[in-house]
């Protein structure tokens, strides 16, 4: 690692506060040579003002000065910038004063007399400390911002459908009861039902996500045959696919290819991938689900012949509440939780997922899952274990 300042980033700045002119001069010489920007001040008052103005990365302060003492400088500086890094120079090298300064929040101390190397080392350490503190604070702020945004977003997602339903009912109550009103009433009841169902689905998904996070789901690790799950998910999704003439095709795993996981979760995973593949397909399109052993793992692929996902959206695909905005996807119901759930499940089961997609051609989601037996040969797996367990109901 090198502390040599890069051209674009200004060099770290250091403020030295010491009433001894010789000390100020020698500090400046040593630190100038190392490429830092150095400003020196001869007393506490000037030093505090300098710190306020320059916002230095590091402050070196003498403890024993006339006027405002070094200790007071430390306290005042930390009041305005808790991430300030202050190194104390102490002339009378008694451990007591140094300890007092450290208690007040100084980062380290340097007893007089000290060598240029000692100064350089302590300054380097102090600057590193400063960098870490700033980074930590930045991350904290970012997390806080994300959390706030997230809460706002979730409450918006939950309130929007409720507000729409409430609005319908409230307006209905005030409209004339003529024939036009009756027709409108029927239409709006249907819309209300649909919005409520969407909201129920959202809450269900949200609970699934929390359950995975709280490790209430995906607890089992048992051999699971994906083939019957695929068949059953196809059965369940057919009403979604049939109206648009979308074909559902399976290329099942070879006999006895089992993955190690939680059957409930694997079903949720497949449901989400398959229903997405149908939802974002084109009329007359197809969805293909294939399972095959690859390098001791099981590869599950779900491909569609649908809209595809533009490149710029792909990195965000698995984020909670993210939805691709493109013509053709607008108006499809959903809150953007399906793939977030998929990602969590895959992670929980110790697998990984990737997507490849070509706009206008379709998308392929490729999931790698742990297999039960290390597949030495693709066909010669041991006889199938009994896996006739019923899926526990969620």
């Amino acid at each position: 690692m090198s502390t040599t300042p890069a051209q674009t980033i200004p060099p770290p700045s250091i403020v030295v506060i010491d009433d001894d002119p010789a000390m100020r001069l020698s500090c400046r010489k040593v630190l100038d040579k190392s490429g830092y920007r150095v400003e020196t001040f001869e007393d506490g008052a000037g030093g505090l003002e300098g710190v306020e103005r320059l916002k230095p990365d590091l402050i070196i302060v003498d403890l024993k000065m006339p006027g405002i003492s070094g200790l007071e400088v430390i306290t005042r500086v930390l009041e305005t910038d808790p991430a300030a890094v202050i190194v104390v120079i102490t002339g009378y090298a008694t451990i007591d004063t140094a300890v007092e300064a450290m208690k007040a929040g100084a980062y380290d101390f340097l007893p007089k007399p000290f060598s240029p190397d000692e100064l350089r080392i302590i300054v380097q350490r102090g600057l590193e400390r400063r960098r870490l503190m700033i980074e930590a604070r930045r991350q904290e702020l970012e997390r806080e911002l994300l959390r706030r945004r997230f809460v706002t977003f979730v409450s918006h997602q939950l309130q929007t459908p409720l507000a729409a339903v409430h609005q319908y009912l409230n307006v209905l109550r005030r409209l004339e009861d003529d024939s036009e009103g009756a027709a409108r009433r029927r239409e709006w009841y249907e819309r209300c039902l649909q919005r409520v169902e969407e909201m129920l689905a959202l809450i269900r998904n949200w609970l699934t996500l929390s359950a995975i996070e709280g490790q209430c789901l995906a607890q089992q690790r048992i051999p699971v045959d994906l083939n019957p799950i695929i068949a059953s998910v196809f059965e369940e999704c057919r009403p979604l696919a049939d109206p648009d003439g979308i074909r559902l095709e399976a290329r099942p795993a070879p006999e006895g290819c089992l993955c190690l996981g939680d059957p409930v979760c694997l079903r949720v995973l497949l449901e989400n991938l398959v229903s997405n593949a149908i939802k974002y397909n084109r009329p007359g399109g197809r969805v293909e689900v294939a399972v095959r052993p690859v390098n001791g793992e099981l590869e599950l692929t779900v491909s569609d012949s649908g809209l595809g996902i533009p490149k710029q959206f792909q990195p965000f695909l698995f984020d909670e509440f993210f939805r691709v905005r493109q013509p053709g996807a607008a108006g499809k119901p959903g809150a953007g939780l399906g793939l977030a759930i998929v990602k969590r499940i895959v992670a929980e089961l110790g697998g990984r997922i990737e997507v490849s997609s070509e706009p206008g051609q379709g998308s392929t989601f490729r999931v790698r899952l742990p297999a039960v037996s290390p597949a030495g040969s693709a066909s010669g797996s041991p006889p199938a274990r009994p896996h006739d367990k019923q899926l526990p109901s969620p």
Binding site: H156, L162, Q167, Y168, N170, W188
Partner: protein, 142 residues
Amino acid sequence: MASKTTILIIDDDDDFRAAVRALLESRGFAVFEAANGQEGLARLAQCRPDLILLDVMMECPSEGYGVNQAIKWRDEYRDFRHIPIVMVSSIQESPDQLFPMAAELDMIRPDFYVTKPLDIPAFLATLEKALESAHHHRSQPG
């Protein structure tokens, strides 16, 4: 014969627009709709509304504020600057809470602010007040 008072609803929720449209039409207003901020801005010239009902969170979390700022401050929309804007959101957060650090808060502060779902009598009263203020504002010289 005075023409109907026209209201432009800019909101991404189809159902919310449908309900509010029916309500407003039953009260004798003419209603235009736009499903996002951009469409809303594009429709201004065509429908020349007397009032704009503007949702806050559309495709982007604070899209409504962007639209509000565009209408009130951008030169290309100066003909529509006088139109009162009633912001609508399901989030009970005022702009001061949403943007605690925005120095230009006054640039985005809406004329009027109501929350979803609309309390109908209060909402109608706000509309009346907004329309009145615009009328008053326009009849002043300058």
